[in-house]
Symmetry: C2
Subunit: 739 residues, 2 copies
């Protein structure tokens, strides 16, 4: 605490009045308050003890955050909820055949990593919201454990029914692995970190590098978040004390089979003993043996996972600087503060950047600055187990947020590398101007220039690059914003409440993948391998600070809609390609007989024909096409008029425009929500049902086609077309107030 | 020898006169003589001891082959040559820093593998024709050690000058690795077998599977065969006793730096200690640590390789059944019999199929069959060190072969799987009819049907398939024959002498990659993991037997030229695509500044811009296009006339056609040969200068463009155009004799 106290006294007060400054001077004044030393000190303090939900150190962190905000002049309140949050009682794993060997348990400390040797009170490796159970069975390796993997198994006559699956991390979200395993009849699920992904395949292993060491384990949540995130007992409503609750047994997002994450050291003990046929080449990981499917009785494991399932209190820290002229328009900014163990990278590297912003905004406030709109800074609790803090707060304040929040800006783990911003595309030019203005700490170039250079350099060297992003980089144009899926606290804002959102962070050059959700996600790891000196923490504060100030002070929201229409057009094009490819594939598949596979596969390793599937019909997308055309026209009209007249609007015109643009993204919400998951209501983006984190765009239509629910595809096309038409019409109405 | 004697007595004589039989009955009579038990016995005997060049067991094998052929009624003679053939005196390797550890030496025996425990007289791991030397230096990992790898190193400021490189096997031919290393200034070269390629990445390791065990080493030749194969001292002439010879020092195909192949157990001792930057993702192999470039002084190895360089005698066994009516037209068929150690798969799995054919052909002969053309069966010595036996024989008999050989049919290692035939495309329909007629042992379908099914099944499952082969499979059309590069004894025939050639073998489902050129390439390995029961050895005999009988007895050669013209058209199309892609790439590269890479690469792992290269101009390919058009027309005219009238030719017309087709492929030879390597003279195919084994088609033109020798590209286009025009005109002249 000594170091912290020292740096908290640092920082020079802003003496000029920040209210009468130019915007550029205000940004410079803001920047002058951002201190990497301060971020280092907060990071060290907040990651000094286990800070998972309801832990003493997590509560101390909340208190520290609250105290700091108050000192900086913010109005602070807590938003507490009572949620179902399991903590592990048993996480026992034993290899019982062909030899007995105890596996699992807490990760070992490393001399070079201070906190790894202070594990009192730390959670052992486990996954939250698995289904308790005590099972013994033979083991089948299922690759990533995603739908295509079970098709591959079926074609080899391999069933997981009554067996324990072992899946490697990657390929899709963690929680899908046990969910699909239980649907396939498995009795238990192990998930391991293959070293190809985040061990020696990516970096030297910690402490020699940032890569995951052999005994490192990735904790996490396996709650069925693609159905709905947040407290499993209170879908759609805030988990207040008196909320009406489901029981754990009836909560659909709590899984049914015992599940445990394990290290690759432990996985080796199991996988290297498996017999059966050779796995396909793309199922092989980085362990030094030949991967086989297993499934025979000679390899048996005993898995016993039990949790304590009582309700726990979680506490969001909500801080406000009230707006002067538009108090009921909110710029909401958040990052979570709960971790799995010490959480230096995830989430504290983002949270300390948020604290720097808050301190600087407080300093501006103290020097007289009064933002037009209200600024709401949220430090979320309980993101790790399933976005609980943010989700319950959004659900609890849904109507008010829909009415008042003009944007939600999120960050989470941050590290060395390039700026990545995903989210609502009407903010693309606004984001691009900020990326042009902020310097990359490593090169001194703008973060935009660095991002473009990286895309072009990587693409020339044959590395995958998003085609639109690369094309923009080659033209020197603004980088497109990718669609938001899930995996952090923007989820409830954009997907449930229809509030435009941005997710902002630097990354791509650090080695935090190797410490992710393990005891090694520590101050020592982070400051050595991920963002030494927190240079990129400072850059993140500067980027988001500019966003917040710009949005809070703008006379009218800094939006342009052509990028949004362009994105919608692109998504529709992808769906057309999907349909075309599916139809071709269906024709080819229908021509592949069992006999062709009898002849075409190795008789010692026979492979059946592809699983039969209903043929994809032609899908009539004309209504959606027309709606997007309408949106394109409306966007062009708005953007052109704003380019010509935006700077000369009268106060009355500004007020009228503000009013008509307010809540325009509500038009994107489907009243009924998406099929199987009404909580998700945005027709333009969602996390995929079978990707978990990864975004699906025009998800109602796309997933219906992907999953061959062709009636749904027709219905969802209509819903999406209506939503985009409404959006276009609201935009046209807004344009009408312009001179 | 007991088992061998027993099965040699087996086999029933053919009692009917094979001369008056129908072709189908003759093939059935041939098949009746093929015995898998016999092949097993020969394999066991011939792989019972080390059978490398000049070893006692190799000489015994030659004597056995000669004896068998004589017993079967063939005329046999030896064709002996005196060649430069180095045998290892020292293959010492030691890690000297940061710790001392002796590496290298002979591979260890395995209890389950009988011959691996009888290594007296066996060669230790080494590579033939490396340059003797005694060097100590630091080590740089160079991936495959091919040109692109050195560009990647240069972009990171890493030089191998004065250092020892360690390259993994794969990516291109073994011999290119030390050759390029010495050109880059390296003082030594280690080549190791990464387990990703042929160890646990491909199969369980021997003896649990066929995969390469940790201590397994791939021997081989590193002679500069893309320049010329065969005896380094006698390029272009037979290495007879009195031939005029180069000295070893002036022989351009003998390398200059000491080179040693090592196991992945030994490679681990070196690679796991290397420091320096992280290698690119596609440089990573399957060893369980993070791959780094190395190059710093802390890791040092001492390498001392010395050979005994005296001339040795090699001995081809040449057996003939003289033709009855066309004695001066030869059907030549060969397989080598020398191995690196026991050589069960390579080469004996092919040689025992050749022996079965010879026995069956002898039985037909004894029953009265007299083929129209002469049949020449060659068992080559000294293929392993550099195709010496076949090359010297071709060079020694060049004029006679050019005048008489209508085809050369080669085999080498054979195993479970599908039939692969590559070579001169005028034989495509002939090969296809045989593939339709011979049964696949595993499924009972025709080998053609099985091959088509495999292509289609694999392609649907996303595995790479040759586009032309797949398209043919989907239409049920004949499989195209791929172009021949190098790697076996057809090389001198097709590339130097202009004799149409086929390379024939089954494969793709065995695990012989894991024993390749090691002591584990044994009877035990082969009969367990590669071709149990030699079912595919029998199939190979049946396929090639039909080829030999069909070619020897045909009234006119069973050729059709449209497939050849189609192949030429395809190759030209690929060259056009190459030029287009290069021009695009050149434009993009020219726009990539050093500054773009300063911004675009990770500052902790900086990467320079791509190596600057001369821009690719538009290349005028019109002459080649016109020549191929002429060839297409000539081929169509010939094929149509043969389809209409081929079955009704008079004896005089047949004789005239035979005469005009004889030696038509001589038209493909460039008088000057290919740039840098005049020994290679075929304008349509060659092994690549930088692939070693892999074929380059229209090589003079293609490699000139690839290597940016644009003046050469223009000249070679003219040479290729003239050759194909001549070919078309000879074909038109042949067509003219048809009614």
């Amino acid at each position: 605490m000594k170091l912290l106290a020292a740096v908290l006294l640092a920082g020079t007060a802003i003496t000029a009045s920040a209210q009468t400054m130019s915007a550029a001077s205000r940004e410079a004044a803001f920047d002058s308050q951002i201190s990497s030393a301060e971020q280092m000190a907060w990071l060290k303090t907040m990651s000094a003890g286990p800070n998972h939900v309801a832990s003493p150190h997590n509560q101390a962190n909340a208190a520290l955050i609250e105290k700091l905000f108050r000192e900086w002049g913010w109005q602070v309140k807590r938003a507490d909820y009572q949620v179902l949050y399991p903590t592990p009682v048993s996480t026992a794993l034993e290899l019982v055949g062909p030899v007995r060997k105890a596996l699992g348990g807490q990760e070992p400390g490393i001399p070079q990593d201070a906190t790894s040797n202070a594990l009192a009170g730390a959670l052992p490796p486990y996954v939250a919201y698995q289904g308790d159970g005590d099972v013994t069975g033979s083991v089948v390796y299922v690759n990533y454990g995603l739908p295509g993997d079970y098709e591959a198994l079926a074609r080899r006559g391999i069933s997981v029914k009554g067996k324990i699956v072992i899946a490697r991390y990657g390929g899709g979200w963690r929680g899908l692995k046990p969910k699909l395993a239980q649907e396939q009849g498995a009795i238990g699920c192990l998930i391991y970190s293959d070293p190809q992904q985040d061990g020696y395949g990516s970096a030297d292993t910690y402490p020699n590098g940032g890569g995951r060491p052999p005994a490192g384990v990735q904790r996490g949540s396996v709650m069925d978040m693609p159905t709905y995130p947040g407290d499993p007992l209170t879908p759609g409503i805030g988990a207040t004390k008196d909320a009406q609750r489901l029981t754990r047994e009836t909560a659909p997002t709590v899984l049914k089979i015992p599940t445990l994450p394990i290290s690759y050291a432990d996985a080796t003990e199991i996988l290297s003993r498996l017999k059966g046929a050779t796995v396909p080449a793309d199922w092989r990981g980085g362990l030094p043996f030949h991967y086989r499917f297993g499934g025979s009785d000679d390899v048996q494991v005993h898995l016993k996972v039990q949790s304590e399932w009582s309700l726990k209190t979680i506490s969001n820290v909500i801080a406000t600087l009230p707006g002067s002229t538009k108090r009921d328009e909110w710029v909401v900014r958040g990052n979570h503060y709960d971790g799995w163990v010490f959480g230096a990278s995830d989430p504290l590297s983002g949270e300390v950047a948020l604290l720097s912003e808050a301190k600087a905004l407080g300093a501006l406030w103290k020097s007289g600055w009064r933002p037009k709109r209200s600024i709401v800074y949220a430090s979320w609790d309980a993101e790790e187990p399933g976005l609980l803090g943010s989700t319950e707060w959004v659900e609890d304040n849904l109507a008010e947020l829909k009415a008042k929040a003009i944007i939600y800006i999120n960050s989470d783990s941050n590290g060395r590398g390039t700026l990545e911003v995903d989210g609502s595309q009407q903010f693309q030019p606004f984001v691009a101007r900020i990326a042009d203005a902020v310097q990359d700490p490593a090169t001194g170039a703008s973060v935009a220039a660095r991002g473009r250079a990286k895309l072009r350099a990587r693409a020339f060297d044959g590395q995958r690059a998003d085609a639109e992003a690369l094309a923009a980089a080659e033209k020197g144009a603004d980088q497109p914003l990718g669609p938001l899926g899930s995996g952090s606290d923007y989820t409830a804002f954009i997907h449930h409440a229809g509030i435009p959102s941005l997710n902002v962070g630097f990354g791509g050059e650090g080695e935090s993948a190797g410490s992710y959700h393990s005891i090694y996600d520590s101050y020592d790891h982070f400051t050595r391998w991920d963002d030494p000196g927190l240079a990129y923490g400072v850059a993140l504060s500067k980027v988001i600070g500019r966003m917040v100030i710009g949005l809070a002070d703008a006379d009218v929201p800094p939006v342009r809609f052509t990028p949004l229409a362009t994105a919608a057009r692109q998504y529709l094009g992808e769906i057309r390609t999907l349909v075309e490819n599916r139809r071709k594939e269906d024709t080819t598949r229908a021509a592949l007989s069992a006999d062709l596979y009898r002849l075409g596969s190795d008789p010692r390793d026979p492979l059946g024909p592809p699983v039969a599937k209903p043929a994809t019909p032609a899908i009539d997308l004309a209504a959606l096409d027309a709606a997007i055309t309408r949106l394109e026209a409306a966007a062009r009209a708005f953007d052109e008029k704003m380019a010509a007249k935006g700077a000369t609007l009268t106060a009355a015109q500004q007020a009228a425009l503000n009013a008509r643009l307010k809540g325009i993204d509500q038009a994107l919400l489907s009243p009924a929500g998406l099929p199987f998951r009404p909580w998700f209501r945005n027709i333009l983006y969602a996390p995929g049902r079978f990707t978990g984190y990864g975004a699906k765009t025009l998800p109602g239509v796309r997933e219906a086609i992907e999953e061959r629910r062709f009636d749904d595809a027709v219905r969802e096309t209509g819903i999406a077309a209506k939503a985009l038409t409404d959006y276009a019409d609201r935009l046209t109405a807004a344009t009408a107030v312009l001179p």
